[in-house]
Symmetry: C2
Subunit: 296 residues, 2 copies
Amino acid sequence: MTTLIDGNVHAAALRARTKARAEAFAAHHGRQPRLDVVIVGDHPASRAYVRTKTRMAHETAIDGRLIELPETVTAEALLAEIARLNADPTVDGILVQLPLPGHLDGQMMIGAIHPDKDVDGFHPLNVGKLYTATKIDPERMLIPCTPLGSLMMLHDTLGPKGLAGKAAVVVGRSNIVGKPMAQLLLANDCTVTTAHSRTGDLPAVCREADILVAAVGRPEMVRGDWIKPGAVVIDVGINRVPTEDGKGRIVGDVATAEAMGRAAHITPVPGGVGKMTVACLLHNTVVAAQARAELV
Amino acid sequence: MTTLIDGNVHAAALRARTKARAEAFAAHHGRQPRLDVVIVGDHPASRAYVRTKTRMAHETAIDGRLIELPETVTAEALLAEIARLNADPTVDGILVQLPLPGHLDGQMMIGAIHPDKDVDGFHPLNVGKLYTATKIDPERMLIPCTPLGSLMMLHDTLGPKGLAGKAAVVVGRSNIVGKPMAQLLLANDCTVTTAHSRTGDLPAVCREADILVAAVGRPEMVRGDWIKPGAVVIDVGINRVPTEDGKGRIVGDVATAEAMGRAAHITPVPGGVGKMTVACLLHNTVVAAQARAELV
């Protein structure tokens, strides 16, 4: 028996808690927590995604604003926009949607965001704090949203102490998911292996995992027989694959149908990790707002 | 046949390269690169270690200075000393020797050092840069000395591309060694497992390692039969154990005698990683001096 970890349920619960905190913040400070999302160009998937972020913000009592810049914006103009948002005391969170057009350096733009407003948790200072922390505290730190959401679902599934001593395998080593995910699992006392495209026998490595996190962006790469019976599987992939009717459909990095009956718990795609990513962004916005208010 | 990886030889070669660079820096800028080491209190082992650092600096054409503060120094006074060194344009590298007395917060003091002068590579901003870098460049980044020295010896032993695809196991998850070591191995395309005190079957995990790094600080914990035949073993431990004559002796985290005949290559203790740690500190001082000179 495999149970599905329902991202919609977990995300709705987190958003409800976040909304209550946002409302308390507004009552105390006379303004809502505010998240400004900067998007450059008109990549359709990114546009849809940032609109979801601002809509979800509004539903969570957060003042979510969208700043749309043309594909041709210069690095200087984007840096000036980030500087303006850094200086605006009513802005708590700044998110620059990635990927950026080729003439703009994503890492430079992330480094330009004030670390206290870096709700994606991608600024090197926040990355360094995450890696050196003796205790991971999502109420005091800005932790990348997808790994944070995945960790919260693991805590809910296995219990807060249920990760200790487990063998965890993270497939993928991106700065956005794989690396911070490995650090969160390590801080929760898992024995953590990071695997990737250069790993020799990837199926054999995955079969050792009590907790398997797939974050590679390759449709259904992880097959059913790569999964240790009884494992918990977190599928971070969101891949569009073609269908005969031309509409396409979304699949994860795991062949979910094959995993059913082997995994003890698995996140579906869609309806799994993706929902938690946006909910964690709103959580981080409130954390940033509260931390900034304490500093004043 | 097991060959010993001779830390003295590797460290002497690195110091020779560093000395040539330090002399070229002095010829060009009219002053030597400068490393200031701050030590608080009179812990005998720490005192001996910082004296080695400044003596080695002098032998490498680096102006190494020792700043000795009493055990009772206040946090404010230590922070003021760090601020003075941050502001002094002739100081390229600042090292605050750890551990500090209990009334001082080590992480706070590390965070107070200017990141450009943080030759230990422990400041959160430098940690974050290490974790997000697309390419690890010891000529442009300040990387923690023990993992950097270990990586250099691995490159010399296996060839610069010889780490790719290898299964690496790091035992220990400290901020000083284990975590940055894992990141360096990952960036060199190893499949990396971090194990620790909560790992279930540690011997079995170690037996999977083509590259085994022991960094736990427990004398001879890693036994011979934990080592995969043909593995490369990096022994980071420096542990003093009692002897009948009362003098004690230094052993590593690996039972070296048992490892002989199983490992293909192993670093001895003493005479292994420890020598490279100090050499890398001097390397980082010259890297910091050159980067600061470019900024002017």
